[in-house]
Symmetry: C2
Subunit: 208 residues, 2 copies
């Protein structure tokens, strides 16, 4: 009986499924086979629901895309606002941004994964890519400000640095595993240290 109850509660195909579950399962399906390739029919099959049961929750495939990418972007915006409100130096804010985005990607992995794979094939996608670009623009400005402050090497191209740093953090959507070696908090520390100090062992730095 206990096994039966457990099986039922983990069976995502049962009716009674909430709106958020439909969206999350759809996002995972988009990430598995591609947004363009995933039909509402296939999604219904995956959920064990009829198409009309899905349309009870959402009006179109594009609406799912919009809500999912908004969720990812709203989370990233919240990280930016939190960095700005901290009122620290550019270095403090840059460090906080790297830690905060790492945590956000770990916690909202499916939504950010979908966002990062958009190609701009529709107005919804173009709007999401535009918001993403603003976010990259914020990081570039932060790197430049930290360079002016003297905290970041002035000889590195701020645009390339910003994109490489986001590339590092964004790669988490490809390999972060909730059951993996490191927790989101530990990964956030590795990301920040790698970005600021690099991997090089410092023979000359004072030990302990």
């Amino acid at each position: 009986m206990a096994e039966d109850t457990q099986r039922r509660s983990s069976n995502r195909g049962r009716p009674g499924y909430g709106r958020e579950d439909v969206i999350r399962t759809a996002v995972e399906a988009f990430n598995d086979v591609g947004y363009e390739a995933m039909s509402m029919n296939a999604l219904a099959g995956r959920l064990g629901l009829t198409k009309s049961a899905i349309y009870h929750h959402i009006s179109s495939k594009e609406q799912i895309l919009k809500e999912a990418t908004d969720r990812a972007l709203d989370t990233l915006d919240a990280v930016v606002r939190s960095c700005e409100h901290s009122g620290g130096t550019a270095e403090d804010r840059l460090r906080a941004l790297l830690r905060g985005t790492t945590l956000a990607l770990c916690h909202e992995a499916p939504y950010v994964t979908l966002l990062l794979r958009l190609r701009g094939n529709s107005p919804v996608e173009l709007a999401a890519l535009d918001r993403r670009r603003q976010f990259t623009g914020y990081l570039i400005e932060l790197v430049e400000e930290a360079q002016e402050e003297g905290a970041v090497r002035p000889d590195l191209d701020a645009h390339s640095v910003a994109r490489l740093l986001f590339g590092m953090v964004n790669s988490l959507t490809e390999w972060y595993n909730p059951d993996g070696r490191l927790s989101p908090g530990e990964l956030a520390q590795v990301t920040e240290e790698l970005a600021f100090q690099g991997v090089e062992a410092r023979g000359t730095r004072p030990e302990k």
Copy 2:
């Protein structure tokens, strides 16, 4: 007349198109709209060729995928072999690998982009992902070796570091622009320095 000639030579839809052109255009189309979503009909339309003209060059959509991902993987393998043959320390080989993969990604961007977006939906994709995993395994071993050598900080998790470093380099497929601010060689230098030293300005290091 000159304009007409130029227009004709840049019109990829004309017959007389070589096999490599067909594959490259197909790869760009896969990257634009997704491999699963791109049909041979749509590809024929994009090339301005009939489907039978395309089948003169290649036997299936999957064959294009196989050749394109093999090309990306063979290029990356050549970078690994070159690092190994250099016979340097683990640090030397790690630096060479970061520079070499950056150059490879810039020069073979469409093919590596396709490789990095595979989801494992077919035997060809699974085989490519397996070769990609071996490549990541090589980087992890190299980081561990460099840690034993004392060149890389021993306190960082080698697996996470390897994946973050590849994430940084792989992001070039998303933003590298042949007409952009930095050349592939300059980007290779930024990647290597960012990985080893990080962005932090070193107030205490000797100037010049």
